[in-house]
């Protein structure tokens, strides 16, 4: 399994270090930060222009948000409808309650095909269930076909973004990986030449490997349609050349009707890559004689999604269409990159999705990986109120911690209980302010700032300065002003 590889950043929340620990490593890597910032600046600039040009952007967001909520409200009915239509069109639908079951279903299907090789379209869901290491261990060679995924696979690297997963790797690093693994000593670091190398490397695989695995951007209940949105054409290759196709899809990805794509497709590419439309979108229902794979399977994956569905505030997490706009705009992601999140889902959406998909104990620090600035909510094309969910998860983390007996005398909880008492009454609060002013005088320098606090307060001043308390509170100033008769 990938997490066992020495020297790897673990993207399995069960084994990953906490966010602050992992973030510190990233912050000390200037090359990585430069690569991430550059990629994000480019996407953000393109997205910004296209969103401004779309005069009905907010109306599209509202429609998308309501469609997704409606689907989640009626998920059972729509999934059954999808299953019936897909089956009628010649597809086979499988249900996987968890990751282990999904992996086994896919392996069994591959064994039925006597498959020793499989080509893959980029899918986050397969990364979520750690499909590749499982298949490799079972003797199936897995070939990723998205350029970024090839870079990661050949370089034995981990994805750090859900749309451009290799954005932390620059051209000279790609050149090094390709030159080494493809045996191309004279390769230059020109992106065009690197892309050509990947094209040549994969062409034979596309033409000969008879089984493929994909994810899906959307399922359509009305028609049993599966939608894959992509840029390079590797998706179309996998969707048309092999004889068997297996699509692994989260249960939340369904849309009611074919027409609903008119909303989602206008939002997705603009939000994800800053394009009016991605180069290729493929839609198919079941099997079409004479065109594309003649055996088609959909594996519907729950893996924790139904438990998110059951929670009022958290349910909106499942509206996500995986565009990555939230991570592109996030000031925290910009500094740390994706690996610090210890999950295949990084950034703000990862900070709320990972703790919910996994047991919270494995991802306790993620809800804190945010300044709560709200930028993610503002750009989200389906209006997921990420800060609201972050706060809800924080309160769950705290409630979990509080129950631990050892935490009773923890200075933080002790302090918060005292604060609770003080803030409960006006006189208590005023008394504390007076004492605070007197006490903080010893630490406030001439410039009006506190640069270092002792004991637990030092945790704050370690990384930032604190403004000294003013001589007068607003209350006092207001009272004096009133007396002055102004």
């Amino acid at each position: 399994m990938s997490h066992a590889t020495p020297g790897h950043v673990s993207l399995d929340p069960k084994f990953a270090p906490t966010f602050p620990q992992a973030a510190l490593i990233m912050l000390r890597n200037p090359q990585l930060r430069k690569n991430v910032a550059h990629a994000i600046d480019v996407i953000q600039a393109k997205r910004g222009k296209l969103v401004v040009e779309k005069t009905d952007w907010q109306e599209l967001r509202s429609a998308a948000s309501e469609i997704r909520f409606h689907v989640l409200d009626n998920l059972g009915a729509y999934l059954e409808q999808f299953e019936a239509r897909c089956t009628a069109a010649g597809g086979h639908v499988h249900w996987a309650a968890d990751a282990a079951e999904a992996r086994q279903i896919i392996l069994d299907l591959l064994r039925e095909e006597n498959a020793t090789e499989v080509i893959k379209i980029k899918t986050m869901t397969s990364a979520e269930i750690q499909l590749n290491p499982f298949l490799q261990a079972a003797g199936v060679s897995v070939y990723e076909t998205d350029l970024a995924e090839i870079i990661l696979q050949l370089g034995d690297e981990d994805p750090s973004h859900i749309v451009v997963p290799a954005l932390h790797i620059n051209r000279s690093q790609v050149r090094e990986i390709f030159a080494r693994t493809m045996g191309l000593k004279n390769l230059s670091d020109d992106p065009k030449e690197l892309t050509n190398a990947a094209r040549t490397y994969l062409r034979q695989k596309f033409l000969t490997v008879p089984t493929a695995i994909s994810g899906a951007n959307f399922l359509v209940a009305e028609t049993g349609t599966v939608a894959v949105v992509e840029s390079e054409g590797n998706g179309r290759m996998c969707l048309t050349l092999p004889r068997t196709m297996i699509s692994l899809v989260g249960i939340e990805k369904v849309l009611p009707r074919f027409q609903d794509l008119e909303v989602m497709l206008q939002l997705l590419a603009r939000s994800a890559t800053g394009e009016r439309m991605n180069p290729y979108t493929s839609l198919w229902s079941g099997v079409t004689p004479g065109d594309g794979p003649q055996r088609f399977h959909v594996v519907l994956l729950d893996n924790g999604r139904s438990s998110i569905l059951a929670k009022t505030k958290e349910r909106q997490t499942l509206k996500c269409i995986r565009c990555a706009a939230c991570m592109n705009t996030c000031p925290v992601y910009r500094q740390t990159g994706g690996h610090a999140y210890g999950s295949v889902y990084p950034g703000p959406i990862g900070a709320i999705l990972t703790p919910q998909l996994m047991q919270m104990k494995h991802a306790q620090t993620l809800p804190y990986a945010s300044s709560l600035c709200g930028a993610c909510y503002e750009v989200c094309p389906v209006k997921i109120n990420i800060p609201e969910v972050l706060l809800e998860l924080r309160s769950q983390v705290v409630n979990q911690e509080r129950k631990q007996a050892g935490r009773f005398f923890d200075p933080m909880y002790l302090g918060l209980r005292v604060a609770n008492l003080i803030f409960a009454t006006a006189w208590g609060f005023h008394a504390a302010q007076r004492m605070g002013r007197i006490g903080s005088r010893f630490f406030t320098r001439k410039d009006g700032w506190i640069h270092a606090l002792p004991s637990i307060g030092g945790k704050w001043t370690q990384t930032r300065d604190l403004r000294g308390l003013p001589k007068q509170t607003f209350h006092q100033w207001w009272a004096e002003r009133a007396k002055g008769g102004k």
């Binding site: 480019v42 409200d73 059972g76 892309t195 840029s231 979108t281």
Partner: protein
């Protein structure tokens, strides 16, 4: 496989338990769906001429080559484009009209045509270019829609050759994506939406044309009579 059968029921039970406010029957579900807000722009406001111009502009922004012609000029326009491409071996879908496949106009010889009556993948791979019709053009995003009819060809046909010439009638061009969806009251079993040549920006966000799909996209817009 026994386990997955149980998993189906288990998953659906979990979902049902998690969604107590789900519609009770299909008419309630349809009513809830009909009540969803759709205040976004559904119908464009451009004149027919401006619509075509926008489509052409968007295609050019994707680095596609675009030319216009009248229906009568189409065979010559096709020939001129193919000649300019410097390629010789072309494939076309089984339903392609014979008048597209001119071999001698403008005294150009050596254009070789094969119709896709179940060609092997290798034969398509050997072709240097492909010519097809389309179902629709969406001006707002410069998107070409294929529903893979007999004149549009099966999906692989417009994928393997490095050069793709698409013939789009002006009357097929709509302004907005919702207008296209409004036109397909019968959703297609297969569809491909193409917006510019195959591309990637995976290396330092530098846009590179042509990864696996056709590197060159040429569109002939045929004006209505």
């Amino acid at each position: 496989m026994n386990q997955p059968v149980q998993s189906r029921q288990l998953t659906l039970d979990r979902i049902r338990a998690a969604t107590p406010s789900a519609a009770k029957d299909s008419s309630q579900l349809a009513a809830a769906y009909a009540a969803l807000p759709r205040a976004y722009i559904r119908h464009g406001s451009l004149t027919a001429q401006a619509r075509v111009e926008l489509m052409i502009q968007r295609l050019r922004e994707y680095d596609a080559e675009v030319v216009e012609c009248t229906p009568a000029e189409l065979p010559d326009a096709i020939t001129a484009q193919l000649a300019a491409s410097g390629r010789h071996r072309f494939v076309a879908p089984s339903g392609a009209p014979p008048e597209w496949m001119v071999t001698s106009a403008w005294k150009i010889t050596g254009l070789e045509w094969t119709l896709d009556h179940g060609l092997d993948i290798d034969e398509i791979e050997k072709a240097e270019g492909v010519v097809t019709a389309a179902t629709c053009g969406i001006a707002d995003s410069g998107t070409i829609v294929l529903h893979h009819s007999a004149t549009e060809g099966r999906r692989v046909l417009t994928l393997l050759p490095d050069y793709y010439l698409c013939i789009l009638r002006a009357g097929q061009i709509v302004e907005t994506l919702p207008e296209y969806f409004n036109r397909c009251q019968q959703p297609p079993a297969l569809a491909t939406y193409i917006s510019g040549p195959s591309a990637t920006a995976d290396i330092e966000m530098t846009r590179i044309k042509g990864v696996h799909g056709p590197r060159i996209l040429v569109v002939i817009v045929v004006r209505d009579n």
